[in-house]
């Protein structure tokens, strides 16, 4: 599903050059739940962003579903992200001025799905994370765990093939974290969604199909 070859990423600023990723080779088959661990600053988020076509590699190749993406700002890449990818972030990134329903249907808005269908799909996604009764609330009225479940609903509302999760449980206590993890596991098992998750929590990583470790931009396991 995701194939990465000889991938390197170097951040150049005026003063220093940081090698965030160094010659990564990775293959994520369809339906796999992969977790990535490693110390802070080792390049986990960078790797995930490149997989998610949000950032360009300095060298190397990323192929998703056999397709490589040349221009990261193009309309076709935007459409690909919209249809095939779902993102979950440590800090949720909900839009505070939109209610839960509007937050969840945002990807469908960019996909130009009609209003009725947007509502139906969003309700369905919220149902699957157990927050259907909170549709009219605003993000500020929810707990951290609830916010992350909304973010999951938003990530899966368009039924993407791949979900990329950057420390989805990082801001949550263990019981809330477990709830979120259960939803992701169910998503992986029921819909066979490919999931790549960055985590600091070994217990979470244990529940996934495979674990890789990064250290200083290099894959060590």
């Amino acid at each position: 599903m995701i194939s990465i070859q000889n991938l390197s990423k170097v951040y150049r600023t005026k003063t220093i050059e940081t090698t965030a990723l160094n010659n990564i080779n990775l293959n994520v088959p369809k339906g796999e739940f992969l977790s990535i661990m490693g110390p802070s600053g080792c390049g986990k988020s960078t790797l995930l962003n490149i997989m998610g076509l949000l950032d360009e590699p300095t060298s190397g190749k990323v192929e998703i579903d056999g397709q490589s993406m040349p221009n990261y700002n193009s309309k076709s890449v935007a459409r690909f992200r919209n249809k095939q990818l779902g993102f979950i972030f440590q800090s949720f990134h909900l839009i505070p001025d939109l209610n839960i329903l509007d937050n969840v249907e945002l990807p469908l808005l960019y996909a130009k799905v009609n209003r009725k269908e947007r509502k139906r799909l969003s309700e369905e996604a919220l149902e699957s994370v157990g927050l259907r009764n909170r549709m009219q609330h605003f993000p500020g009225q929810l707990s951290g765990g609830q916010k992350q479940r909304v973010a999951i609903a938003r990530a899966i509302v368009g039924k993407p093939q791949i979900v990329l999760a950057d420390e989805p449980t990082g801001n949550l206590d263990s019981s809330m974290g477990n709830e979120v993890m259960d939803i992701l596991l169910r998503l992986n098992q029921v819909l066979e969604t490919t999931i790549v998750m960055v985590t600091h929590d070994a217990n979470m990583a244990k529940k996934t199909d495979r674990l890789i470790r990064l250290y200083d931009g290099t894959q060590i396991q």
Partner: protein, 389 residues
């Protein structure tokens, strides 16, 4: 998408209402100044009815008016002597209503339910030649007319349109300060100048024996007559009127002086408006800039879930354009009350033109101000923006 944008705006109604108010106020001010400017522009394009180049006006010692017996012989004699000079063509004595003379005499009379009102110019039989006033109908009065029972009168088109619309009034007798016979009409005679509105105006014959004010002499001068000719004129006046007290006015200079009184304040108003627009533009830029920086993570997220750079730019432009549309809408609601309530006497077309023009300027400013920050917003790197908090 519009509905989505309306939701975002509604949730920030506090901050947005301030922007809305700012746009609304500038719209209203723009509308006011533009309608004033357009009103004057319209005026200025209409013919004033007379020529200003190579026209002099001789103002004599005002005390001469007291000796009316002398005036009866002095005035024709002086006029003859002046027009006999090689550089002076025609001349006309006038008691009231000379170009840019300022003073007006308005007469009003109601008889048989018809109310007639007009300002009166009292000029002599040579006035059309001296001023280059053009008759559109009928004829000008001559010396024979003065012997008739009814006093002859020439009127302007506005006088006829106002009092007798659609009726041919030439050779009709009306009661207006005595029995008067309308013998001719002119298109217009706006002797206050190009910015003056159309007023009902009539010309009555000047008679030296009836003078109440000291008359002045309008003289048509040959083109390129040097200023030294004023001295020649002075000598004639001295020999005939036995006075040194006189003033020679150049009509083209009076025109400049008079018209400046309107266009100069107008220019100042327009400049203030320009500054206001610049201010609004800078304010909007600042607000947009601030908003976009505050919403970096939102921008990153939108990109991640599938927004193209152009979607981001479009969103921010639409947000501010929507606010501007609401402001202009409210402003227009106020503006259309003016013709409805007939508060001021400005033509409807001018008001509509001003509304449209003010709206165009506002939308222009808003679009210009929105484009740059919105493009910057579109360029924000999603990976970076998402990483920040």
């Amino acid at each position: 998408m519009i509905q989505h944008i309306m939701k975002l705006i509604w949730r920030k109604k506090g901050a947005n209402s301030l922007i809305l108010l700012e746009i609304l106020l500038s719209f209203v001010v723009l509308f006011g100044v533009l309608s004033f400017a357009l009103y004057n522009l319209e005026r200025v394009q209409q013919p004033i009815g007379f020529e200003v180049e190579d026209k002099w006006i001789l103002h004599l010692d005002r005390t001469l008016v007291k000796d009316s017996a002398r005036l009866v012989t002095l005035l024709p004699e002086l006029k003859q002597a002046i027009t006999d000079l090689p550089n002076f063509n025609q001349a006309s004595w006038a008691e009231l209503g000379l170009p840019y003379s300022g003073g007006t005499w308005n007469a009003k009379e109601s008889t048989d339910g018809v109310s007639v009102s007009a300002r009166v110019a009292i000029v002599d039989e040579d006035f059309p030649l001296a001023s280059k006033l053009k008759l559109t109908e009928g004829r000008w009065f001559n010396e024979d007319d003065l012997l008739q029972k009814e006093i002859p009168m020439v009127v302007n088109k506005h006088f006829l349109d106002l009092h007798y619309p659609g009726v041919n009034m030439i050779d009709s007798i009306i009661e207006f300060q005595g029995d008067r016979k309308i013998i001719g009409s002119v298109l217009d005679y706006r002797y206050g100048g190009a910015y003056e509105e159309e007023l009902s105006t009539v010309f009555a014959p000047f008679r030296a024996e009836n003078c109440r004010f000291m008359p002045s002499l309008l003289i048509d001068v040959k083109p390129n007559t040097p200023m030294q000719y004023e001295e020649e004129l002075g000598e004639v006046i001295k020999s005939i009127a036995k006075t040194d007290t006189y003033v020679i006015e150049h009509v083209n200079q009076s025109k400049e002086f008079e018209e400046k009184k309107t266009w100069f304040p107008l220019l100042i108003l327009l400049s203030i408006c320009g500054f206001l627009c610049i201010n609004v533009a800078l304010g909007l830029l600042g607000v947009l800039w601030y908003n976009i920086n505050k919403r970096r993570s939102e921008i990153g997220l939108r990109r991640a879930i599938g927004a193209h750079t152009s979607d981001i730019a479009k969103q921010f432009v639409l947000e501010i354009l929507f606010l501007a549309a609401v402001a202009v809408g409210i402003g227009t609601l106020f503006a259309v009350q003016i013709p409805l309530l007939q508060i001021i006497d400005i033509e409807r077309t001018i008001l509509i033109k001003s509304i449209v023009l003010a709206a165009l300027i506002i939308f222009g400013i808003v679009t210009l101000c929105a484009l740059y920050p919105s493009n910057q917003a579109a360029r924000i790197q999603p990976a970076l923006a998402l990483h920040e908090d």
